[in-house]
């Protein structure tokens, strides 16, 4: 039996240097509940190290937290990588860290990169600059995420900066992506032949759920979302808002 699930598949935490420091796990979960979301994906730049805290903060909530990451590949394309389990994300996180340039973050320029507990207390700082390109190609990223049971969605394809269309001119037709994400309210070309999702790309609490995708699913899992994106078995994207 399917029902509607409201999702925001692109939410940053305070770990992303460009995100607000108020984006603590507890506050994100509260904001998601206030926005009447059923599913959020946590997608920090090139890191999954705050995901477990958000999942823990939501443990007693009806909210489903999908472990994810906003990956920046060599071509400077941003891709949402969404995984079926925290373990799969953490394995991916450890793998890509080897491909993240060893450049130190300067908090005065980029902002802090705190790894926090559920309440937002700083456990340590990620010292390597996260907003940088991995030394992996877009194909290597999509394949690597798929090998770990995850899915890839090129982010904000309606923008010029860091979008697959801006960087590469067009989407390589063989690239096995699950959908494309748009974050703008209008304008920007949407490529034909791809399932579209909308998400907030929230860097501030007030933006969580501002853009959302309503799915018809049987359960709030990545496998169901994958089916929904393909329109299989009665699952589908019901509405973008």
């Amino acid at each position: 039996m399917t029902r509607v699930y409201a999702s925001d598949l692109h939410v940053h935490t305070c770990l992303s240097p460009c995100a607000d420091e108020e984006m603590s796990p507890r506050s994100i979960v509260r904001a998601a509940a206030e926005a009447a979301l059923d599913i959020i994906a946590i997608t920090d730049h090139n890191s999954g190290k705050n995901v477990s805290a958000v999942m823990e903060a939501a443990a007693d909530d009806p909210l489903t937290v999908i472990p994810g990451m906003e990956v920046q590949c060599r071509e400077e394309v941003h891709l949402l990588a969404l995984f079926g389990s925290l373990e799969a994300l953490e394995e991916w996180d450890a793998y890509i860290y080897e491909y993240l340039p060893d450049v130190r973050n300067d908090p005065a320029i980029f902002g802090h990169q705190p790894i926090v507990d559920t309440e937002g207390y700083v456990l340590r700082f990620e010292e390597r600059l996260l907003i940088n390109s991995l030394d992996l190609s877009v194909e290597e990223v999509v394949r690597g995420v798929g090998d770990r049971g995850g899915i890839c969605i090129p982010a904000h394809v309606d923008r010029e900066a860091f979008s697959i269309i801006g960087q590469l001119g067009y989407i390589p037709p063989e690239l096995p992506i699950a959908a494309v994400e748009i974050t703008g309210s209008q304008g920007g070309e949407v490529p034909e032949g791809y399932t579209v999702v909308t998400a907030s790309d929230a860097h501030f609490l007030r933006d969580i759920g501002r853009k959302r995708t309503l799915f018809l699913l049987e359960a709030p899992t990545i496998a169901e979302i994958q089916q929904g994106l393909r329109g299989e078995g009665g699952r589908r994207v019901k509405r973008l808002s």
């Binding site: 060599r74 877009v138 010029e160 269309i165 801006g166 960087q167 001119g169 067009y170 390589p172």
Partner: protein
Amino acid sequence: MKLTTLVEELALKVQTAQKGLGREVKGGYASDLLSDVMANSQEGDVWVTIQGHPNIVAVATLRDLAGIILANGRQPDAETLQRAEEEAMPLLCTSLPTFEVVGRLYRLGIHGRG
């Protein structure tokens, strides 16, 4: 000026499409955003970039560019090489950074076209 002259003057390493080196270069364009190259490069330009993704070949072919110079020691992906060979698109590599490549091209008389 022909591509082959640029190869000699800048000591570029020819990776693909040796036969295309006789092509006349009409101007130059430098950018790593392929959407920008699609919109603004002109037929006969030599294109300087550090983007090694296979899509560069399609964009250069679409715009009928004279050739691609891959700067800053960037290595093209294997598929980029294969496609460039198939499309007879000269792919020229150099360890020089983009700024240096463009400066030397300009000194040789290759200009941007607005």
